[in-house]
């Protein structure tokens, strides 16, 4: 089975985010970038499917040239080929991104598309939906387990209080949630092998933006903590602060 995996380069979740001088994007200086953690789960799932049943894994990424490093990491984990749609526009909107991904996906043979259910930078979670629509394939979101059948796949989703099992015909898009599989460490052998794998770089054919970012502002600084007292004597004051001031109780 051939699998297309979407990968996005995002700021490390531990990074301290600052807004750039123009107030329209984040300032990338000093920020470490990593593979979107949910996409990492998708890569791992793809590798496990390949290990079980063979096939080819293609990683598709729209992002800056520096994202070759992230694609290379996916290749080191076990993917076979990468495609980088070079795009330096920060904050490319979901529809335009899906346009570019769909154009590139047209050149790839796949039975399944796997991707994180959202990227942790923009928290938007809609690129996959637009892409599935453009490719004309079904899309199951937030899956925590999958069972491959003959020409179809059953995907488990945790929804409010129950587990829903959804069946779709292949090819299909599945977006993955934490808990599906645990991403592996890249092995040194994998890194050596990744050197010889192909990354196809081309300009992104992103469509017209449908959304424009007007401003980006950091959240207000958190107010300083306050010590209401010490030991058991402080409990009434603490209770009062939590219920009357903070309305938490």
């Amino acid at each position: 089975m051939n699998i297309l995996v979407l990968l996005k380069r995002v700021p490390d979740t531990a990074a301290k985010i600052k807004v750039a001088a123009d107030g329209m994007a984040i300032d990338p200086a000093g920020v470490e970038f990593v593979i979107n953690p949910y996409d990492e789960i998708a890569i791992e799932q793809a590798i496990q499917l390949k290990e079980a049943g063979g096939g080819k894994i293609t990683v598709l990424c729209l992002g800056p040239k520096a994202a070759t490093k992230d694609i290379r990491t996916a290749l080191a984990m076990g993917a076979d080929e990468g495609i980088l749609l070079v795009d330096d526009t920060a904050g490319r909107d979901a529809v335009a991104t899906a346009d570019a991904l769909a154009a590139a996906a047209g050149d790839v043979e796949f039975d399944l598309v796997l991707a994180g259910w959202k990227s942790v930078d923009t928290d938007d979670g809609s690129v996959t939906h637009f892409l599935a629509a453009k490719l004309g394939i079904p899309c199951v979101t937030l899956i925590t387990k999958l069972e491959l059948g003959d020409g179809q796949v059953a995907a488990h989703r945790e929804v409010e209080g129950v587990t829903e099992v959804v069946e779709v015909k292949l090819p299909a898009m599945l977006t993955v949630q934490k808990g599906l599989v645990e991403p592996r460490y890249t092995s040194l052998k994998g890194i050596m092998m990744a050197k010889r794998k192909k990354i196809d770089e081309r300009a992104a054919e992103a469509g017209e933006p449908k959304i424009r970012i007007r401003t980006m502002t950091p959240p207000p600084p958190r107010p300083e903590g306050r010590i209401v007292g010490e030991g058991a004597d402080a409990v009434p004051a603490l209770m009062q602060a939590l219920s009357d001031e903070q309305k938490l109780l």
């Binding site: 290379r72 080191a76 460490y185 890249t186 092995s187 890194i191 050197k195």
Partner: protein
């Protein structure tokens, strides 16, 4: 805790290839997840964390530099970066890997028989077997040429007698590279540790390298077959020293990892802690002098060590180059650990911080693989052509 960030003051990373950066980052991530959370417990309990063995095999650290027999075929710079990251965690795990790679896999591959290679290299690489290297003896450390261990030829093999001391991995090994004197001179033997007459009691109650196993090896009429002799070891002590060159090179990188661990910890601490009118410790001149000295020494060590690594990859690094970086980097790793321990004040004497552990570890690391002053003698001999050992 804030994520560890290495030091890169003036574009060190620009001298690394994408692959080298990936190697470093992947080991760094592994150390964050699998070493940092458990190492202090093992240091306190004086034990080696056994699951590391299979994990190191799985991620490809064991045999990383070996070509063939399942090895990774990686460059010296890549293996150096691996040791840097391991020792950022602890000198114990780096020692475990250094001994297996530099002192067991390397001599078997260079000096072993085909049979020894076929039998042991794949097992050492995949973590099935652990190995150790027995050169030092209770009475012969800096001067191993004086060793008392003897190997006597018999009709169909050899009989080994003697005691080795301070042997890393000794008590947990399946196989030992042991040096002994024969009639023809010093030779290396590859000895299975379950042979009759071979024991490897643990050396307990160390205050350094506690997360690593250190042992004695006692051989009393230990009979081994003819095939235990390593046929390529007919250069005698030179064979032993060529292995040490491999391990010393890795130690030099490892020391940089330790320096960076301490620097990172110290810097975070003095930026956050305030004394005297709410000013951070980092705002005081004497503290800044320490920080500036530390960063300068890390930077110097990085460039010197990388250059020796590049030379090594071209076959141009000699023992004196390696001796210089081993001595210098261990010396500064120990000094930096002490400086950071000092910057941490009372907190620095607890296990909540790592500088004290690195400080204690480096008392070993500056001693083994050629003690600090011995490396001065090696370089002195190289410069002047006048040996001053005796």
């Amino acid at each position: 805790m804030k994520k560890f960030q290495g030091a890169d003051f003036c574009g060190f990373d620009t001298l690394l290839s994408e692959e080298e950066v990936m190697v470093r980052d992947s080991i760094r991530e592994w150390v964050d997840a699998e070493v940092i959370p458990v190492v202090d417990k093992h240091f306190q309990e004086d034990t080696f964390h056994m699951p590391w063995k299979d994990q190191l095999a799985e991620i490809g650290v064991l045999g990383a530099g070996l070509t063939g027999h399942g090895g990774g075929g990686m460059s010296s710079v890549c293996t150096g970066l691996i040791y840097q990251e391991l020792e950022r965690g602890d000198s114990g795990i780096r020692s475990f890997a250094s001994v297996i790679n530099g002192l067991v896999i390397y001599p078997i591959n260079e000096y072993g028989s085909e049979e020894q290679k076929e039998k042991w290299l794949p097992r050492l690489v995949n973590g099935e077997a652990i190995g150790c290297y027995g050169l030092t003896e209770p009475d012969f450390g800096s001067n191993p040429g004086g060793m008392l261990t003897r190997a006597e030829k018999t009709a169909d093999g050899w009989v080994l007698n003697g005691t080795k001391r301070w042997i890393t991995n000794g008590s947990i090994s399946d196989i030992a590279v042991v040096f002994a004197k024969t009639k023809e001179g010093i030779r290396a033997f590859l000895v299975e540790t379950d042979r009759e007459g071979f024991t490897a009691p643990l050396i307990k109650e160390k205050w350094s390298l506690r997360a690593s196993v250190t042992s004695e090896i006692i051989m009393e009429d230990c009979v081994v077959p003819e095939g235990s002799l390593m046929p390529g070891s007919d250069l005698g002590l030179k064979t032993a020293l060529s292995c040490l060159n491999q391990a010393r090179y890795g130690i030099a990188w490892g020391a940089i990892g330790s320096m960076m661990a301490c620097y990172d910890e110290g810097l975070n601490y003095v930026m956050a802690r305030t004394q005297f009118k709410g000013k951070p410790l980092a705002g005081h001149q004497l503290v800044q002098k320490k920080l500036s000295n530390i960063l300068t020494e890390i930077t110097k060590a990085q460039f010197m060590t990388l250059q020796v690594g590049r030379l090594k990859d071209q076959g141009l690094a000699n023992y004196a180059h390696i001796s210089m970086i081993k001595r210098n980097n261990c010396y500064w790793a120990l000094r930096i650990a002490r400086m950071v321990r000092d910057m941490l004040g009372a907190s620095g004497i607890t296990h909540e911080y790592q500088a004290g552990r690195h400080m204690l570890n480096f008392e070993s690391v500056k001693t083994y693989e050629g003690a600090h002053d011995i490396h001065h003698l090696i370089l002195g001999d190289y410069i002047t052509g006048i040996p001053a050992y005796e």
